[in-house]
Amino acid sequence: MNTIRFYTHSIRMLMKSRLQYPLSFTVQTLAQLVMEAGEMLAVLLVIDRFGGLKEWSGGEMLIFFGVMSITFYMTEIFGRGITGGIDSMIRQGGMDTLLIRPRSIMEQMICRDVDPRRIGCIAVGLTALIAGSAQTGLTWTFIRILLLLEAVFFGMMMVLGLFLIEATCSIFSVRSLEMINALTYGGRSACQYPIDVFPRPIRLLFSVVAPFSLTLHVPVSFIVGKPLFGWPQWTAFVCPLSGAVILAVMTVVFNIGIKHYRSTGS
């Protein structure tokens, strides 16, 4: 209970300071919207040129894109403390401040920052989701809504887990590891398309290492009524749990890493 209170209090405080300059906030939110609209345009161009990819129709592709966009940017809004610049925070010795407070490090990291500007990206994602549903004539039954919520929720956990890889590496390495971005931002760009359009090595990467396919593609393929690889329905509910597994494993690894934290000179 106390943790939730700490989180909401932090978020309220940080939102307030972020919204202190409304003009700057509006401009930046619009910029985010334009950026994400560009991503959506790329999907629309593929649809316009090929009418779809493999057996996926244009409307279905928009749904995949929308769910990915909502998942990823919800993580960035509420998990900004972990997704935003944690590597430089650690390298500059910012962890000292967290370690001298009587709270767990994970708890404090997640309470460190929020990024309401990403609401611009969410708006694009929602538009895609709605347009896709309209085009495919999808009715949002209870079970479909449940699957959607599950996909987004566990997808967010997985994305946080991936960013924790970067955080853990920053404890040991003084150099920024741009490589990890291939999993996070790279995963977002690639997996806005359904996994089965990719060759085998990429499928493996995004199913085993960074399982976007399990948290997102499997449940969404059920939502649109075309189960991936003909898997039974229960898999749509079970696969997204892999997101929680990734986050749990990375939390353990990160906490071991903290023991080796060496701070900076003063």
Partner: protein, 321 residues
Amino acid sequence: MSYIHVSDLSKTYIVRKKKSGSFLAREKTEVKALQGMNFEAEQGELIGYIGPNGAGKSTTIKILSGILTPDSGEVTVGGVCPWKDRKRHVGRIGVVFGQRTQLWWDVPVRDSYDLLRDIYRVSRADYDSQLRRLTDVLDLEPLMNTPLRMLSLGQRMRVELAGSLLHRPELLFLDEPTIGLDAVSKLMIRDFLKQENRENGTTVMLTTHDMEDISALCSRVMVIGKGQKLYDGGLNELLSAYDTVHIMTVRYADPSVCPVLPEGCETVAEEDALKITYRPDAVPTPVLLSALQEAGTIRDLTAQPQNIDRLVADMYKEMGM
């Protein structure tokens, strides 16, 4: 057992440097920050911790405040080991880094404090009374609604100090709290620390390069060099061992007076005054004084101990640092 107990504390950093001219090979060098540090401290002490840059001061403070895990050695603070039971330990201590802020940069001070109240789980009533007291003593009222980034360094230090004491810690660590501050802020912070220690019994341990901090505040001083403790005791005893040269300036009513001084004094005439340099172990100060008085009517006399920074530099040099 003492309140703070440190025995055989060691910490080695491994620094990897890229070899020049080679693509992958890296050199590994070990930096021994602490090599068997020992000390004990009781509750209510005000300890100054000095030593040259890189001697291991910050490493000690960081281990004691639960930030770093040492390679070997034993530490307990009030019966708790800082790195094994971190959350319990840090709930009872306050830490201030002179060079790094711990509050939220873009957020008004009052909001930061409010969040700290939640982090430390301080009750509303406790928090209100403590905040009122700190606001009065440190004169924070005009700063409360300003974002931290807009405060001057001196203001920020006062704000940080108050922030570290909101949960009424029994032990306060300060890593170079007066670095870069002007005279007024320095004095204010020294007075505040003295008061905090006297009235609330807060144990204080501070590192500094400013010897004025030590002489104004600390009854006990520890000197560390190359990761080992070299001195532990009173400041005056420490200084007297290195205090080899004194300077006395004397003005006579009649400027033409020329006193006959004992052997070992050097005299330089400066306008209407005489500047006498002597070694107290060779020429006791009372002997010199009576010699000066015999020569004529003294209008003004000032005694100056040697510059304290020079003393410390000599001491570091002699201790092989």
